[in-house]
């Protein structure tokens, strides 16, 4: 009886560990796919290049103490 309980516990722990590893693998793979897609298709630079015009308009509105 005790042996059976021990075996059941071991099996449960192995299943938990397996599920944890599988989840970790899926998260890491998912992160890799997303980041590699951003990297390879240059999505980071495409995004920041869209931000630049807004920033430039903002700078034009700042009051400045311009003089020689």
């Amino acid at each position: 009886m005790k042996e059976r309980i021990k075996k059941k516990r071991k099996r449960r722990m192995r299943r938990k560990a397996f599920r944890l590893l599988l989840n970790l693998f899926l998260i890491v793979s998912g992160l890799f796919v997303v980041t590699f897609t951003v990297y390879f298709f240059n999505l980071d630079m495409k995004l920041t290049s869209m931000i630049e015009p807004f920033l430039l308009k903002h700078y034009d509105r700042i009051e400045r103490n311009q003089h020689l």
Binding site: Y39, F41, E52, H58, Q66
Partner: protein, 532 residues
């Protein structure tokens, strides 16, 4: 006189991945369609280094005052383009060459991020950390920071480096606004746009305000005096930051000026001590001197390798790193010593395997003159488009001598002369001043030493120092039968001569005079006028 020829070398290894680099460009686009495919191994390596750059940038924007600075200073917008700068300088690189480029560039990015962090922490407009501001000594962008080698607890902080110098590397259009501002306020338009842009930043009230004192120098040229005058006026009269002018002798090769040069170094050090309350530390100085010597030894070895058939650290990998390490770092940052050693290892490994960085080496070139700063990756383009190997450039031909690195009474005296020598041998200045020997004769000595068969001569059209020698360069090149390609540009301003204008000068020469076809025809004409 017969034209000197070089027997082209064909790379026995096939270049993996993309080889038509022009296809990555989007017509009239700011950024590229996609990043380069370099084969599985090198693409994954480049991706891994990109993640590292993202982390560096992420850490930077996680600090709220840095974000505040992003919204205050116009030049900060250019830092959106950091990853693209790395992509431009690594175009076509594989294996050890790609790894060398990343070792250098990623370290430079980390160092500039630290510089920005320091600037904004002490800036009265942003972080306003007064105690931190007091340990900052402002140095102008052309300042050889040797005078800071003995102050371990002070920061040598340059405002011009991140606002103009690095900005133009990131974005070819970065300096245009400031050049226009300077001209609106009456500064001449036919001067060097580098000091003009720096003056423009000051006039436009777009420079951080911090520091216990400032050191300005007359390097690289009299153009700096123009900009420095405008900047120091504001620093002293408005910001209350005292400024010391460190004038290096123009005839720097003459023995009779060295005592004066050393005395100016002593005066600069006394000025810093007086205004910061920190004392010169000889232990720290000689530690930095040791690192300067390591950097010099490494650079000398790389240049010796470049004299052989298998150059390893050349072009963009040599130019950008040398400028940063020699001038801005000057032995003060231990990470650069580690980087020197890593680069040495990579270079030796590639050299042993007789590696080549392109499908063909058709010409060996010395690149001379002041580079077009908005198109410094031109050196990579030369290799990829025409198979021209840029063995060395003028800005990398700097001090080759060791300085005293052991603490003795005689060496303490010698140290002032060493610091003076380093200041005189500042990049660019060591050639544009000092007489025709260092500018003209030395070029042709390097052509012989490096077994070069071509000269690419940058002609910065507002650089009076070089323009005056135009005819002499042509005469000498003709005498020796060396093809000399003039490449005109306006340093910081692509509106005068665009990147395609720069390329066309080489394209036309290579097609009409050399009667050659490009290695990669897709790179010959690129619609990148709008690009970062």
């Amino acid at each position: 006189m017969a034209v000197k020829k070089f027997n082209k070398m064909v790379n026995p290894e096939k270049i993996k991945g993309d080889t038509r680099y022009g296809d990555l460009y989007k017509p009239h686009g700011k950024v590229r369609n996609r990043r380069e495919w370099r084969g599985v191994k090198d693409t994954l390596y480049d991706y891994y280094r990109w993640l590292g750059i993202m982390m560096t940038l992420g850490k930077f924007v996680a600090v709220p005052r840095n974000v505040k600075a992003m919204f205050r200073y116009r030049w900060m917008a250019n830092y959106l383009a950091v990853p693209m700068m790395v992509d431009r300088f690594t175009q076509g690189l594989r294996g050890e060459y790609l790894r060398m480029a990343h070792e250098e560039q990623d370290l430079i990015i980390i160092d500039v991020a630290k510089l920005l962090g320091n600037l904004f922490r002490g800036d009265r407009r942003i972080g306003n950390d007064e105690e931190f501001s007091k340990i900052n000594v402002l140095v102008d962008e052309n300042e050889m920071t040797a005078v800071m080698m003995g102050f371990p607890n002070l920061k040598s902080t340059s405002r011009e480096t991140p606002s103009t110098y690095v900005s133009v590397l990131l974005n070819q259009h970065a300096a245009e606004h400031y050049i226009d501002v300077a001209q609106e306020f009456g500064l001449a338009g036919d001067v060097c746009p580098m000091p003009e842009a720096e003056a423009g930043v000051s006039i436009d009230d777009d420079a951080p305000i911090l520091g216990a004192c400032a050191i300005q120098c007359n390097t690289t040229c009299d153009g700096s005096l123009l900009g420095n005058g405008v900047i120091s006026e504001r620093l002293e009269k408005e910001d209350g930051i005292p400024v010391f002018q460190l004038p290096a002798p123009l005839r720097h090769k003459e023995e009779d000026v060295q005592d004066y040069a050393a005395e100016e170094i002593r005066r600069a050090i006394r000025f810093i001590e007086e205004h910061t309350g920190h004392k010169w530390d000889w232990d720290y100085y000689f530690e930095c001197a040791r690192r300067v010597n390591i950097a010099t030894r490494c650079r000398n070895e790389w240049l010796d390798m470049n004299k052989t058939d298998y150059p390893q650290i050349f072009g963009g990998n040599l130019a950008l790193y040398t400028e940063t390490n020699y001038m801005a770092i000057c032995g003060k940052v231990p990470e650069f010593e580690k980087c020197d050693k890593k680069l040495m290892k990579l270079a030796e490994k590639a050299y042993k395997k007789r590696k080549m960085a392109a499908p063909e080496y058709r010409h060996r070139a010395i690149v001379w003159g002041v580079q077009s700063h908005f198109y410094m990756d031109f050196l990579v383009w030369l290799l990829n488009c025409w198979g021209i190997v840029p063995l060395t450039d003028m800005l990398s031909c700097i001090n080759t001598e060791m300085i005293a690195e052991t603490d003795t009474p005689e060496n303490r005296e010698q140290a002032y002369y060493d610091m003076a020598m380093l200041t005189e041998e500042m990049i660019m200045r060591n050639r544009t001043h000092g007489g025709y020997k260092v500018l003209l004769d030395d070029l042709f000595e390097f052509v012989e030493e490096f077994n070069a068969d071509m000269i690419i001569l940058w002609e910065h059209i507002t650089c009076k120092a070089l323009d005056g020698m135009h005819g002499l360069f042509e005469d000498k090149a003709r005498e020796r039968g060396i093809p000399l390609i003039w490449v005109d540009h306006q340093l910081f301003d692509p509106r005068v001569i665009s990147r395609q204008g720069v390329r066309d000068q080489v394209n036309q020469y290579m097609r009409t005079v050399m009667q050659e076809e490009p290695l990669d025809p897709t790179l010959e004409v690129l619609d990148d006028e709008n690009s970062w």
